[in-house]
Amino acid sequence: MSGDSIEVSKVGKVFGSVRALNDVSLSVSPGGVLGLLGHNGAGKSTLINILSGVLEPTTGTATVAGFDVVSQASRVRRRIGVAGQYVALDEQISGRDNLVLIARLLGASRKEARERTHELLERFGMTESADRAVRTYSGGMRRRIDLAASIVGGPEVLFLDEPTAGLDPESRAELWAIVHRLTEEGVTVLLTTQYLEEADRLSDQVVLLSRGHVVASGSPSELKRGVGRRKASLGFNERERFSAARDEVRRMGLVADIGEANFDIDITIASPRDLGAVIHALEERNLGIDRLRLFEPSLEDVYLAHVSTR
């Protein structure tokens, strides 16, 4: 038994003829936050279901909080929290009742359950709506109460399956803030997401999953560096400067995508230094740039970079 909070070793999962996971290995040290990045069908939820003891792996082994997810599933369940893509609560009863219910099932006395619920409701800013039935909650409130439900037992390890899917930007930011705080308190988190930005903000380690395979892993910046190229868009207000700049960019040998209609030149650069060189060259010829945009590599880019180089 290693000291890692999550230890996945060559886990595979087959549903009928579908191979959902293939030799997936990863580990998360205590207090770490791992972002599991991948498209729909990449196997993210399957892995979470295996690690939370809902599904059994077809091959391989996994431990969570030091316990085997198959043979010691009940011990694992007492130490984890899971918040899924869907709000897994009793919608007919209030948010408060839901939290009390879970605390009681975890073994809290009535009094302990009430106190713990009160703390969590305050922490999540939900005291006012606590006594309304969950079915009357907005999407953002549902996610918050669901997240609260997942940490009732003070889990050592928290699994968040696409915690912000389908949320508006404001609710998403709220949820990020909550998750961020949790990670600061030292809980180990494994979160899945389709958004590189989300993985970037919340996690210190990212694993890229594609069709059940781990295609890349590392810190968010390592992954992005791995992509190397990124796009920059240089915009001009006048045709003259635009044309001159276009020629200059071509002369520099940069791959360019020209938008004749709005005088935009999109270039692909390998490093920020390249962009500096371009700007410098244009400035020297008195070709001032009117609009400059830099595009961070997207998940698509990371995907393409890693899938194509495999």
Partner: protein, 292 residues
Amino acid sequence: MNAATKRSVKDPMTIDARARRSTVPWKSVSWRGCSVPLQIHILTTRALRALWMDPKLVLVSVASPLVMLLVLSQVFTSISETRSFPGGVDYIQFLLPAIMIMGVLQSGMGSGAALGQEIKNGFVHRMRTLPVWPGSVLLGRSASDLVRSLIQLSALSTAAHLFFSFHAPGGAVGMAVAMLIALMTGNCLGWVFIAMACWFRNAEVMQTFSGLAMFALMFGTNAFVPLDGLPDWLRSLSHVNPMTYAITAARGWILGDPDMSATLYAVIGSAVIALPCALLAVKGFARPLGTN
């Protein structure tokens, strides 16, 4: 730029300001789960809590048998004048026990549908991630259904007394035993629907199938007309229909002429149905989610 956005996520949120006041010490919670009986108790109360939050649910479960009672008592009253109908009995006295059984059967179906819904919406999934025995979820569902049926039957018989000038020749004892029979049958047959929910895992399929089952179970009995009034083929079918015995038994107690063998058949029959269904339900429920 990145660092700045990270900060903005972390800092000025109102939630965070509220949160700062109560810092929950993280590892202080060390609960170790609870016993199965306690799990069942907790899950039963939570299902009842839903009734408390939304009394409409109770209202509907009482209203629909009442409407049945009203309509059927108007439509079929003439049956009480036919030769095969027991003499000296009002049609309403004949009908109420059947409506009682039908009402509890409907609750049973409702609990199957509710379970199907909870498998779909993820509540069951959450239970799976907690240290809870899967059977507790089902037993809690069934037990809360029993309480719900009790409320329903009490309201139904009160309303029948008040608005339909119903009175039980069998007296309070007869009425109480009839209710017990109804509760037992309803609860046992409820397991059929719970088992269905566990295997179908689909509320729509459940609904269609339940409607069909209800129709077959109720009309192939002596619920609305005496057995002698049924065509031969339906009469022979009704002999293997557990509902027939439940209705005959409940009716006997209410009319003050208890039919002991029907009572025995009703009790044993329901148990015989419930047991394998309950086992099947637990087995179906324990199948991994997301494989269906």
